[in-house]
Amino acid sequence: MKLHLSKAHVIDPVTGTDAILDLRIADGRIERMGPGLPQERGFEVIDMTGKIVTPGLMDMHVHLREPGFEHKETIATGCAAAAAGGFTAIACMPNTNPAIDDESVARYVQEQGRRAANGVVDVLPIGAATKGRSGEELAPFAELAEAGAIGFSDDGAPIASAEIMRRVLEYASMYDLPVIQHAEEPTMVRGGCMHEGSVSLRLGLPGIPRVAEEIMIARDLILLRYIPRARYHVAHISTAESVDLIRRAKAQGLNVTCEVTPHHFTLTDEAVEGYDTNTKMNPPLRPREDVEALKEGLKDGTIDVIATDHAPHTVDEKEVEYTAAPFGIIGLETALGLALTELVHTKVLTLSQLIGKLSTNPRRITSRPPIRLEQGAPANLTLIDPDIEWIVDRGTSHSKSQNSPFGGRRLKGGAIGIINHGMYVSAG
C-alpha cells in the first residue's frame, strides 16, 4: 500500500505539529512529510483538503465480550467497529468468561485481535485486578504485564475492599501500569438503575446516587496519597464532585488520571423518560449541571481521556423491563462524531486538545510509546473529516449489537479511515 495524503491538516500534539502538509506513506511508514510534496508514481492520492490527519486514536475502555459472550460481540466485530469509528487501538476490559486474569487469556485476546481484520486494530488487554474479578485475591500482575496487559481493572465491578485496593495499588506500582477503578460504593447501589434525582423520582425507578461514585474516588485518592508510587485511573467519571476531587488531587501532585464517555458529556438523565433501555448504563446519565462540569473538566485538563465504555448487548437482552435490562451501550462508531459535535464545534476543546484525549493521553496512561507524525515513523494514523454531517443509523453498525441511544441523531464530523501496520481501512 502506497498512499499520498495531499493537503492534509496534520495535528500531532506530541510533536506540536498543526499545519497543512502532504504525507507519503509506504511500507507502513511515513516515508515523507512536508508541504506540497511532488506526486510519485505508484502512490494512490487521497485529497485531504479540509480534512485532518492525526496520530491513530485509542479507546482505552472497550468490552469485546470474547471469550465467553460471543453472542454480544466478538473481537473481530469489535475491531471492525473500532476501525469504522477511527480507532487504531482499543484496550479491552477483562470481564470476559474466563476473565483476563492469567497469561493464557491475555494472549488469546491479542491473538484473536491479530486475526481480526488482519490486525489493523491493535487489541490491548487490560488484566483483571483480582482473580476472577471477585475482589478477593490479587491477579498475577507480573505475568499479565509480561503477556501484554496494559493496566489492571475489575471494571463492571469496583474493587470494593479498601484493604484489597491498597494491595492492588502497591503491587501494580512495581510495573508502572495503571489501576483502573470502576468507582462505585457497592452498598449504596441497591438495585438502582438510573441517576437518583428528580427524573428517577418521577419515573419511579430506583436511583444510583452521585455519592456512590464520589465516596469511592475519595477513598481511593486517600489510599493513593498513602501509596504515591502507584498510578490510579478512574474509569467513566460522571459527576461534578468527581471532577472536583480529581482536580484537587492533581493539584496536590497525586498520580491520578481519569476518563469520561461521550454519552456522559452528551446526554442527561432526562433521556431515560420513556424507559428506553439504551439509556441504561453504569454510571448512569446525570443531570445538566454534571454534564457541564464534565465539559469544564475536559477543558481545564482534569479529564485526560475520552473513552467509550463500548458495552454490547443483544436486542433480546435489552428489550426487557427497564429494571431488568443490563447496563451499557455501544460507542466505538459514535465516539468521534459525538466528541467533534459536542466538544469541538461548540468550542469546548480545540482539535489538538481532542486528539490529546483520544490518542496521546490514553497511550501515555497505559505506558504505550507515543505516536509521532514525522518522517520515518510508523504510519499509525486516523483520517478525520471534521465537517461531514451524518445521521447515526444503528442498522449499519459494524458491532454485533445495536444498543445505542444515538440512533437517528445528527452529528457533525467523523472518521474517514485509519492507517496502521501498512493497511488502510476506510470508515463506513
Partner: protein, 311 residues
C-alpha cells in the same frame, strides 16, 4: 367525548379535562352498580386480558368485576404457574397476546415502565394497574372520585399522603392527579422513606404528623411494608406506629374533621388505628366500591374510542 391517549399509563401529564371526563363517566357507572342487574353491554365482543406479574387480589378482582359488568370476555394471567415462571420474557408474552387478538391489556408489574414497554409492542389498549414504584393511576382516580363525591370538588382540598412515599406508586399518581385538579398536596413520613427532590413535584414535605394534621382535610394513609425495615429504611414497626401511625388521639386534636383514606390492605394498628379505619370519617370502603366504577369508566372510554377509530 374521548380521552387524549389510547392507553392509561399514568396520570402524569393527563389533563384536567380528561380526569373530569373519567370521573363523570365513573359516576354514571356507579349508578349501574347500585342497580339489581349490574351488567351493561358496551364491551360485548371485546377481549381483555388481566396480566398480573405481581400478586394482587383486590385490584385484580376490581378490574375483573368492571370488565364483566361491561360484558367483556375476560382472561386472567398470573405470573406464578405461567410461562413467565418458565423464563418467558415480557416481549414474548406481549407477542402472544397480540397473536391471540386481545383488545385490551390490564397490566400489573413490579418493574416501573413495564406498561410503557408493552404499549410499544402491542396494538391493544394498555391500562396500568400498578408498575413498580412508578404509578397506579386507577387507584388515584378512585381516590379522587371518592373525594369529589364527598366534597363536591377537588380544587383547594388539602390532602396529605402519609407513609412510605419512596416506594409508593399510589403516592405518585395521587400527587399528579390531585395537583392537576387544583388540590393542595403534602406528604409526611420518615426522611428515609421520602425521596429526594420531592418538593419539585409541587408538594410540601413533613416529618411530623403533628405539624400537618391541623392543616389538612384528608389523610391518605399508605401501607408500610416490613421488608423496608430489613433494608435499613426504618427501625421497627413499633417505632413507626409510635411516630407515624395515624391514630384517633392524633387526629382528634385537630379542630376540623379529617377524612381517612387507605388504598389497602391495611396493617391495622400499625400505620392506621382500627378505630379510625372503621370510624365515621373513614371512606375506605367507598374507595373500594368506587374502584369498580372508575375501572369501568376507563375500560369504557378506551375500549369504545378504539372501535370508532377503526370503523
Amino acid at each position: 367525548m374521548a380521552l387524549q391517549s389510547r392507553h392509561l399509563l399514568g396520570l402524569e401529564g393527563v389533563s384536567a379535562e380528561d380526569i373530569t371526563l373519567i370521573l363523570d363517566t365513573a359516576r354514571s357507572f356507579r349508578e349501574v352498580l347500585d342497580r339489581p342487574i349490574k351488567k351493561v353491554p358496551p364491551l360485548q365482543g371485546k377481549t381483555i386480558v388481566n396480566l398480573f406479574f405481581e400478586s394482587s387480589t383486590r385490584t385484580r378482582i376490581s378490574f375483573e368485576l368492571a370488565e364483566r359488568r361491561l360484558s367483556a370476555d375476560v382472561v386472567n394471567f398470573a405470573a406464578s404457574g405461567s410461562s413467565v415462571s418458565k423464563g418467558e420474557t415480557l416481549k414474548d408474552t406481549a407477542r402472544n397476546i397480540e397473536a391471540m387478538r386481545i383488545d385490551m391489556v390490564v397490566i400489573r408489574h413490579a418493574s416501573s415502565g413495564a406498561p410503557h414497554f408493552l404499549s410499544r409492542v402491542v396494538k391493544a389498549n394498555v391500562i396500568n394497574a400498578g408498575d413498580g414504584q412508578h404509578e397506579h393511576p386507577t387507584q388515584a382516580l378512585l381516590d379522587m372520585m371518592t373525594l369529589r363525591e364527598k366534597y363536591g370538588a377537588l380544587k383547594g382540598l388539602r390532602v396529605c399522603i402519609v407513609g412510605d412515599i419512596l416506594h409508593s406508586r399510589v403516592a405518585r399518581s395521587n400527587i399528579y392527579g390531585l395537583k392537576t385538579m387544583g388540590a393542595e398536596v403534602s406528604v409526611c413520613g420518615p426522611a428515609t422513606l421520602i425521596p429526594r427532590h420531592m418538593e419539585e413535584l409541587g408538594v410540601r414535605v413533613y416529618h411530623r404528623l403533628e405539624d400537618i394534621i391541623p392543616r389538612v382535610d384528608v389523610l391518605n394513609v399508605l401501607r408500610i411494608q416490613l421488608e423496608r425495615q430489613k433494608s435499613g429504611l426504618f427501625p421497627s414497626l413499633r417505632e413507626y406506629h409510635r411516630y407515624f401511625g395515624v391514630t384517633k388521639e392524633r387526629v382528634e386534636k385537630a379542630p376540623q374533621p379529617i377524612t381517612i383514606m387507605h388504598p389497602g390492605p391495611i396493617n391495622r394498628d400499625v400505620e392506621l388505628s382500627a378505630d379510625l379505619a372503621d370510624g365515621e370519617h373513614s371512606v375506605i370502603l367507598e374507595q373500594v366500591t368506587n374502584g369498580v366504577a372508575i375501572r369501568m369508566a376507563i375500560l369504557y372510554l378506551l375500549g369504545t374510542a378504539q372501535s370508532s377509530e377503526r370503523s
